[in-house]
Amino acid sequence: MKITKFVNYALAAAVLVFLLLQQTAIQSSAKEISNDEQIIRISASTFEFNPSEITVKKGVPVTLELVSQDRHHGFKLPEFHLRADIKAGVVEKLRFIPDKAGTFTFFCDVFCGDGHEDMSGTLKVVE
């Protein structure tokens, strides 16, 4: 009887340990994905993006956090069908999965002044 009880406790403990390990594995996995997702803050001001060159990994989700330091700007990344208005004091988030490798141009598409036409940057997607 005692042996049966012991076995039962041992089995229960084993199941508990298994479940804990599994949960840890799930959390670890989730943590890994979360770590992989790239959150990039881009600051817009007359007449530049900072940073203006961004490198991300193909297939890994990206969140862009866009904020203006001065006036109304725009952000357009045509190859990934992304655009947003960027206004001072408001963080605009754009999430996407870069599904193709290459170098792509993003630019301000709201006329903002004398240097507007130079206000652009590049997104590099690597394998």
């Binding site: 109304h72 725009g74 357009k76 045509p78 141009t105 630019f107 598409d109 709201v110 006329f111 903002c112 002044g113 004398d114 507007h116 036409e117 652009s120």
Partner: protein
């Protein structure tokens, strides 16, 4: 020079109802232009960017517009009217400088012999204040006028800094077109291209396709615009779009380099890529001939 005077390289644009004569005709050349009621001509100047300063781009930034005015005044036969398709002035954040530049521009072009001059805004004139200063100097941002059987529609795709015509103006356009006969001769004058020429270079109108949709039922529509600082010809269906050169700096062909940049001044070929054009309207045939004129040292 004499040879140049007589040379006209004719580019026939199939199906466009337009013949484009490229350069080669100096201002002194006799034109023998017909004056039948169904035929007339006008001059298009564009992207003068008065107030721009950049010695590497145009060391004659204060002289080029004046040369163009002198060149137009020297035409043997004066045009019926003149149009400026936007970016009259270089943009500035300073409200006073913006108005000073507009006043100076207005003074210079007041020297044109032809007094019927139609203006329109470019984003440099109107995007930072939604056209407030522009309207003080030059009037409405969008309007129509008629001349010898041709209906001209001036569209504003610049006072909205997001490069849109906007719902209100679209409704105005649709109402205007509704009054026109289907086969009316229509010329649209605007600043940005109405089609997606190079959106990543800001060479597009956000809702330009809606404008083109509104124009499509009319078989005789031609669009003249500026903004891209070079001669360019494109068809959307039966509608021909013709871009004009600048009078301040030239820009590269769309997509020819990774990042758009002004073409530097070439001292061995000064004023290269700059110029203006005349447009000869054969109204009965709904046909337009475009003659490109360079800006030269002697003018």
């Amino acid at each position: 020079m004499k040879d140049l005077m007589n040379r006209r390289d004719l580019l026939k644009l199939g199906g466009m109802g337009v013949a484009v004569f490229v350069s080669g005709t100096t201002l002194a050349a006799g034109r023998g232009r017909r004056k039948e009621s169904e035929s007339f001509y006008f001059v298009q100047l564009s992207d003068t960017h008065w107030g721009f300063s950049g010695p590497n781009i145009n060391p004659d930034s204060e002289g080029t517009l004046k040369k163009a005015v002198a060149a137009v005044n020297a035409l043997d036969e004066q045009p019926d009217f003149i149009v400026f398709t936007g970016d009259l002035t270089q943009t500035t954040d300073d409200r006073k400088i913006r108005r000073d530049r507009m006043a100076e521009f207005r003074d210079i072009v007041s020297q044109l012999k032809v007094k019927t001059v139609r203006f329109m805004a470019g984003e440099h004139d109107a995007s930072l204040d939604r056209g407030e200063a522009y309207q003080e100097f030059f009037g409405d941002l969008h309007y129509t006028f008629d001349h010898n059987g041709v209906h001209f529609i001036v569209l504003d795709n610049v006072s909205d800094p997001m490069a849109a015509v906007g719902e209100q103006q679209l409704r105005w356009l649709q109402a205007d077109l509704k009054q026109m006969k289907k086969d009316a001769r229509i010329v649209v004058l605007t600043h940005r291209p109405l089609f997606d020429l190079a959106p990543d270079w800001d060479w597009a109108t956000r809702d330009g396709s809606a404008v083109i949709d509104a124009l499509m039922p009319h078989p005789n529509v031609t669009v003249l615009y500026g903004h891209i600082h070079q001669e360019h010809h494109h068809m959307t269906g039966h509608i021909a779009h013709h871009a004009a050169k600048s009078l301040m700096w030239a820009l590269p062909e769309p997509g020819s380099i990774p990042k758009k940049a002004q073409i530097p001044w070439n001292s061995s070929e000064p004023y290269k890529g700059l110029g203006f054009r005349d447009v000869e309207a054969e109204v009965a045939e709904a046909r337009y001939e475009i003659n490109e004129f360079p800006i030269g040292r002697a003018q």
